[in-house]
């Protein structure tokens, strides 16, 4: 899973470039994400718009990077495709993350996740 980092007004946006976030790439995803998220930005957005398929290993990797950021940094998701959205909904992880329709909406929204979780 190739990732690309972008800084938008102090928010780090990590774009997934691969189509599959599965057991084959889950560990690599975690390692790369940790490097790209850095340690400074208080808010990190994961753009999953390119991801057409995610299995439970991929979901576990997203949860893992969320936890890696520590308790104070905000982590939001953007642009879930239908198959990926289904996995978040069925496992109720959609209630854990703030999920936005676009990267712009995620960056513009007032941060809230850190207050709850």
């Amino acid at each position: 899973m190739e990732l690309k980092q972008e800084n938008i007004g102090g928010t780090v946006v990590v774009h997934c470039l691969g189509e599959r976030l599965d057991s084959l790439v889950a560990i690599k995803f975690k390692d790369e994400f940790r490097q790209l998220a850095g340690e400074d930005a208080q808010r990190v957005v994961l753009n999953m718009g390119a991801v057409k398929f995610m299995d439970s290993s991929g979901l576990g990797a997203v949860v893992a990077v969320f936890k890696l950021l520590g308790p104070d940094r905000v982590f939001d998701l953007a642009c879930l495709t239908p198959a990926v959205d289904r996995v978040f909904r069925l496992t109720r992880m959609d209630s854990v993350f703030s999920i936005f329709d676009s990267v712009d909406a995620a960056v513009a929204a007032p941060p809230k996740s850190a207050m709850f979780i």
Binding site: S56, S57, V63, F66, R86, V87, R89, L90, R92
Partner: protein
């Protein structure tokens, strides 16, 4: 000669898919891609194809990660038949037996979960259990057989996590 459950039934049915591949992450991904393509050729709705891929990904991953963990990778075989708006599946592997805790209900997060306590695994069995019907495992002659039916419609969302944890068998 040993009887093989995979060869019973399904033969001659037009919309049956057989798969056989080495139990590795790479081969699993290829098998899933092939499966989706075949189902699309059968005219299965794309939403249902995605759902089938989600379920079979979890079933195949469990075999790769657990049945063949610490032993030489063996072969995963499956037979899937489109019947009456559903996909009947039988998946076989000659790996280690499924433990007593097999067919686990899987993890769900409670509303009050802290970030550091969130589960990073266990979602797989939950997805399998929630999206399939008539889930049944048996071990015959050193082979695990997992049988299940995937209905081609979206099941209602489970009302509570408790229900999922307590209902081990449909």
């Amino acid at each position: 000669m040993k009887m093989d459950m995979l060869s019973i039934g399904g033969l001659g049915h037009k919309q049956t898919i057989y798969q056989s591949f080495c139990a590795s992450d790479t081969a699993t991904r290829q098998a899933l891609t092939d499966l989706s393509q075949k189902l699309q050729e059968f005219g299965v709705d794309s939403d249902e194809v995605e759902k089938v891929e989600t379920i079979l990904a979890e079933v195949y991953n469990n075999i790769v990660e657990h049945a063949f963990s610490g032993v030489a990778p063996g072969v995963v075989r499956s037979r899937m038949t489109v019947v009456d708006a559903a996909l009947k599946c039988l998946v076989a592997d000659n790996g280690r037996p499924l433990p007593e805790s097999g067919l686990l209900a899987g993890n769900l997060v409670g509303p009050a979960a802290c970030r550091k306590d969130l589960p990073e695994g266990g979602f797989g069995w939950f997805l399998i259990r929630h999206l399939t019907r008539q889930l049944y495992h048996q071990r015959v002659g050193g082979t695990n057989y997992l049988e299940f039916v995937i209905p081609f419609e979206e099941p209602a969302k489970c009302p509570t996590a408790l229900r999922v944890r307590t209902r081990l068998c449909d």
